[in-house]
Structures are given as C-alpha cells and as structure tokens.
C-alpha cells in the first residue's frame, strides 16, 4: 500500500517538509493509500465527496460574487443585475452559485437516503450521523438566507413567512421575530444580518465537515453489506481505488450540474424573484426553494400554527433519534426484507411531500400532504421500532470478501 507514494515521499523537498510538518503523511492517512476502505463500496458512496465538492464550489463562487454585491434593500437587486450584465462572467458565477445550491441539496439528500438504506447511522457511527444532520441544518439556514440576498419578491416574502414561524412560540414569539428582523418588518437590518450570516455559516459548515470526516475515519466507511471489515482481505486503500471512483462520480455530477447551469439556469428558481421586493404586493403563491418543499408541506398540513411549526422542526430533529428508533441490529436494508420495502414507501412519501409543498394547500394537494406527513412520522416512530423487533433478517455473509467473491467473480466494483 505504502509503495504507491514511495517515489513521491522520497523526494528531498517532500522529505524536508514532511520532517517539519507531517502534511503529506496526514493527507495520505486521510484520503490516501494509508486509509483502508471496505472494498465493496458502490457508487452511492460517491455522494460524500460530491457534497464536499459542492461546498467548495459554493464558497468559491460566493466569495467572488460578494466582491460585486451590495447588501442594501435599495441596491441589492440592482447589484445582482449588475453581476448578470456587466461583470465579466458574472452570469456564470451567479448561475453556478444559485444552481449550485440546488445541486448541493440533491447530493446531500441522496447521501442521507443512502445512509438510511444501508443503516449508516447505527453504532458505532451515531456521532458521524449527528454531525451530518448538523451540517444539513446549517445548509438549510445558509440556503434560506442566501435566497433572501437578491431581494426579489420571493426573497422578501419567503423571508417574511419563514421568520414569522417563530411568532408561533407562545409568549416570547413576537419579540423573537422582532429581534430576528432587527425591526418591525423584514427590512434592511434583516438583509444585512442575513448577508453576514450567509458568509459566516459556510465556514462553520467546513468546520463540522472536518469533524464529520474525523468521525468517519474512526471506524471507517459503512458498506453496502453493512457488516464490519474483518481483515486486510476486506479492505483496499482509499487511493487509488476510491480517488478514481470518486473522480468518475465528479465527472458525471458535473455533466448533470452543467446541464442546468448552461441550458436551464432558471428552471430551479422562481420567476417572481426577477421582480424587485415589494412589501406592499404579496405574491399570489409564496413557495420556498424546492429543497424546502417537503418541510413546507408538513408545516401546512397541520391546521394549527404552533403545531405545524413544531412538526416541521420535528421532522428534522427526529432524525437524531434514528440510532435508537431503529431497533434492528442489521445495518444494511439488503438483509432486511420488510424494512427494505418500507424504505421505498418512505421515499415515495418524501416525494409526495415535495409535490404537495409546491401547490396551494387545498384539495388533493392538502390530502397528499397530510397522508405523507402522517407516514413520515409513522415510519420513524412506529414502523422502525416494530420492524426491528419482528422482522427476520436474511443471513449475513461471513465477510465482505466472501460476499464479493461469491456475487461478483473477478469484477469487484464494476457492478457496484
């Protein structure tokens, strides 16, 4: 394993630096030849590195956008148009940043669902899972505040609606909202603090990502079989096997990203955000960005304001309890015939929530939203504990290498 880097490591300059600052060996232990990885990771394991790539894209494009943006209610919208029309490749930067946010959520949602399917949240990876959820929460806050910055109609009204949720808190709700706004309505102080926090939070995310990776390296990646690696025959070094596999994923992801970026850059946005914010005109239909729609649907499924808000936040917080709500000792859904079916039902419920969240809460959309909300919570609170107790899992393979050799003779990883 180590001989992959022996040529590089024997370079005199590298040795000189390494002797004083062990940066090369540290990297090699983190994502190099000294990081042992299960040999059977499939392409669903690409989405962690892709999420990291998305974060880097957002930070880099964001830093340049800030050089041309002005966080003031009377200038923000004009500043964005200045970027789109007069800044060299400004349109490219802004479309990358706006679509990049959507891509980040697509990647992270797949990453989370992969964890749900293969039981990546189970012992000993609970803290790894928590850190991931904290990243997800920070991402939501960052994306929400970023969407406010162009100061279009959806920016303004989205901010008004979401900040108003806090007024549901008994007694202190309204003072909290005033405190969040920095005034008596969403206005310049709100825009300024959102801008400040939108710049800060991505770096907080970077910090949590480092902890996330640290926690990951403690016990290594979970794998599609969900069984622990038993020895060197089950493991391969991260580099070159998964660096090159991740590179394939990066290429495919960038093709997907660039399709939206170059051919449908406004598809994932809302047309009303090309109308400057106007506190006197409420849009006919206020919708958040698509990645918030499932939670928005849960919020609106409840005919009570406080109840809706609690359920919406509960939908995310419940994920923190997953390691205990899931009573099964078997990690991978591959060996859990009933849970496997329920996973797909749960996915359909989440898609149903997304659909319902984008429509006015009336008629069929409201029914779909309510049914899916009930299923969402029932899945975690009722089905998961019960299935874990009553389900009879299939027989687990003795080791990864045994399973790999049996199912994929001579072509490990190609099927993945």
């Amino acid at each position: 394993m180590a001989d992959n880097n022996s040529g590089f490591m024997s370079n005199p300059l590298v040795k000189w630096i390494e002797y004083r600052l062990p940066v090369f060996s540290t990297l090699d232990h983190m994502v190099g030849s000294q990081y042992p990885t299960p040999k059977n990771l499939n392409y669903w394991w690409n989405f962690g590195s892709l999420a990291g790539l998305c974060l880097v894209i957002q930070i880099l494009t964001g830093i340049v956008l800030v050089m041309h943006y002005t966080p003031h209610t009377s200038m923000a919208f004009d500043a964005v148009e200045h970027i789109m029309r007069d800044v060299n490749y400004g349109w490219l930067l802004r479309y990358m940043h706006a679509n990049g946010a959507s891509m980040f959520f697509i990647v992270v949602y797949i990453h989370i669902f992969r964890g749900l399917y293969f039981g990546s949240y189970k012992a000993p990876r609970e803290i790894l899972w928590f850190l991931g959820l904290i990243i997800f929460l920070l991402m939501m806050a960052t994306a929400f505040m970023g969407y406010v910055l162009p100061w279009g109609q959806m920016s303004f009204w989205g901010a008004t609606v979401i900040t108003n949720l806090f007024s549901a808190i008994p007694v202190v709700g309204e003072p909290i909202v005033t405190w969040l706004w920095g005034g008596f309505a969403v206005d310049n102080p709100t825009l300024n603090r959102f801008f400040s926090l939108h710049y800060l939070l991505p770096f907080v995310i970077v910090g949590i990502v480092i902890l996330h990776i640290l926690a990951l390296h403690q016990h290594g990646s979970n794998n599609p079989l969900g069984i622990d690696t038993k020895g060197p025959q089950d493991r391969i070094p991260f580099h070159p096997y998964y660096t090159i596999k991740d590179a394939v994923g990066v290429g495919a992801f960038l093709i997907f990203f660039c399709f939206f970026l170059f051919y449908a850059p406004n598809f994932l946005g809302h047309p009303d955000n090309y109308i400057p914010a106007n506190p006197l005109v409420t849009p006919a239909h206020i919708v958040p960005e698509w990645y918030f729609l499932p939670f928005y649907a849960i919020l609106r499924s409840v005919p009570d304001k406080l109840g809706g808000v609690l359920l919406m936040f509960g939908a995310i917080l419940i994920l923190f309890l997953l390691p205990w709500l899931d009573t099964s000792k078997v990690r991978s859904a591959k060996f859990r015939p009933i849970y496997k079916q329920l996973f797909w039902v749960f996915l359909i419920a989440c898609i149903g929530l997304t659909y319902a969240g984008g429509l006015p809460p009336e008629g069929l959309a409201l029914v779909i939203g309510r049914v899916c909300t009930v299923y969402y919570f029932a899945h975690f609170l009722i089905l998961m504990p019960l299935v874990g107790w009553f389900e009879k899992p299939l027989k687990l393979p003795a080791s990864i290498s045994e399973a790999v050799l049996k199912t994929e003779p001579g072509a490990a990883g190609s099927k993945a």
Binding site: K39, D78, E81, M84, R85, W91, L92, Y95, T160, V161, N164, S167, E174, V177, F184, A185, I236, P240, Y241, I244, K245, A247, V248, V250, G251, A252, L254, I255, C258, F259, L261, F262, Y263, A264, P265, N266, P271, D272, Y274, I275, T282, A284, H285, I286, L299, R300, V302, P303, D304, K305, G308, P360, P361, E362, L366, G410, A411, A412, G413, S414
Partner: protein
C-alpha cells in the same frame, strides 16, 4: 398594524392561498410560440431584435422603463447587432439629465451609448399619476419574471399572448372602471389598453407591421433584454459538455484499469 400583517401572512400560509390562486388559475395558458433562441444551439434573430427594439422605442417606451439596459448593450455580441456608430447616433436622439455641474446645477445633454435607457417617468408616483393609478412595470426582466411555464421561451410566449390577447369582455363579465379585458392576464382585467394596432410602426426593413409580427418581435427583444448572455451561455455550455463527457470517459476507463488489478 404589525400584528395584523403577521396574522394575514400566517393565515395565508397556514390556511392557504385559495383566493389569489384561483385568480391566477383562471387565466388561459399562453400558446407556445416558435422562438429562435430556444434549444441547445438557440440564438437570437438579429433582425427580429432590431424590429423588437423599434416597437419598444416607439410604443412601449412611452410608459415602460427598461432601467437595466444601456444603449451600448444594443451593440453587444449576442444582441440586436447594431453597430457602435448606429448606437451612438441612436443614443444621441435621447436627452438625459446629468450633473450637478460646477455651478451645482443639473443639466440636460444628449444620451451616450454608456447611458441606460431613459425612463419615461421620474418615479413610480409620477408614472401612476399619468396612468390612471396603474404602474407600468419596468420591462428589463419581464420575460424572466413571467416565465411561469418553467420552459424556455415561456416568458416570451406570455408577453406575446398578452399583447395579442385583448378582446371584448364576455357578456356578464363585470369589467372595472378604466380596465381592459385580456384573455391571458391573471383575472382578465388589465389597466394597459391594447398597445399594438396594425401598422403602428413602420419597420425599417420593410416587414409588414401586423399586430402579431410586432408582438412577436418585441417579445423576442424583451427576452434578450432579460437574458442578454444567452448565446454566450449556450456556446460555452456546448464546449464544457464535450469536455466533461471526454473527461468522465477517461476517468471511467482509468477506474476500470485500476480496479482490474484487484483480482
């Protein structure tokens, strides 16, 4: 006031948007048009944009501003394709306020290519006062702000449909004072009277100025005004896509080779 507003908003969120959603829902979907700028290799039709600019200048600009577009943009690559000299001469036919000068006074001067299109009214109040209380919107971004089909060209479809969608109100329709019936406008009651009538402009290139032709040209022009970098974007996209497909193919081949050593 504050509490009332919060209540209203929350009522709208929690209970629903029944009334406005219905109002928006009863307008007719604009028919899809054929535009030169759609598709992976779409480009603007220069002659169409030049005619569209003429319609904007001679008809729309009487009431509608386009504050994000400058005269110089008319000569930008991927736009209407006026020459720099044409743009200079064109700009000079407009007068803009500049200043203050050394004496502290504002003064009028001929517009330069670097100036944005001058707005017909000094502010929203003045615009409303001259238009029976209605505010003629800035048109710089209207093609993207009305892109409700989430389909390329949907914004232009809507503009063309609106400009050609004036009709007599159906029997029994209670039309408000000073409003006009339009099939495609949400709620059907629009303050803007029918703006285009046959032969309203005399096209420099001899094209017959039917209402449909003028509506088509000005819709394409407004799409360009909203998305002036469309051609550059699509051209770059094609190159990037080819690069990425090759790169991903190479990564995949390398992955195959590296993993083949495992067994």
């Amino acid at each position: 006031m504050k509490v009332t507003m919060m209540r209203t908003i929350l009522a709208a969120v929690v209970i629903g948007f029944a009334a406005p959603a219905l109002a928006a829902g009863d307008s007719v979907a604009p028919p899809a048009q054929k535009w030169s700028f759609t598709g992976a290799f779409g480009t603007y039709d220069r002659a169409e944009l030049q005619r569209g600019y003429q319609v904007y200048k001679e008809v729309c600009a009487a009431c509608h501003a386009m504050k994000y577009v400058a005269f110089r943009n008319l000569a930008d690559p991927g736009g209407p394709g006026f020459t720099a000299a044409e743009v200079k001469a064109l700009a000079a036919t407009f007068e803009v306020t500049d200043g203050p000068n050394d004496a502290g006074d504002m003064f009028k001067r001929a517009a330069l290519p670097s100036d944005k299109f001058p707005s017909p009214f000094p502010n929203e109040k003045a615009a409303r006062a001259s238009n029976g209380g209605a505010y003629p919107l800035d048109l710089s971004l209207i093609a993207k702000a009305r892109d409700h089909g989430r389909r390329e060209g949907a914004g232009a479809d809507y503009i063309k449909a609106l400009l050609t969608g004036y009709k007599d109100a159906p029997a029994g329709f209670a039309l408000g004072e000073g409003l006009n019936y339009n099939e495609y406008f949400a709620g059907h009651q629009i303050a803007m009277p029918q703006p285009l009538n046959a032969d309203q402009v005399t096209y420099a290139d001899g094209t017959k100025a039917t209402v449909d032709q003028m509506a088509h040209d000005v819709s394409a022009f407004l799409m360009w005004a909203a998305e002036p970098k469309l051609e550059e974007r699509k051209r770059m996209g094609f190159k990037v896509m080819i690069f990425l497909v090759v790169l991903t193919g190479l990564f995949f081949a390398a992955k195959k080779r590296i993993w083949a050593k495992l067994h």
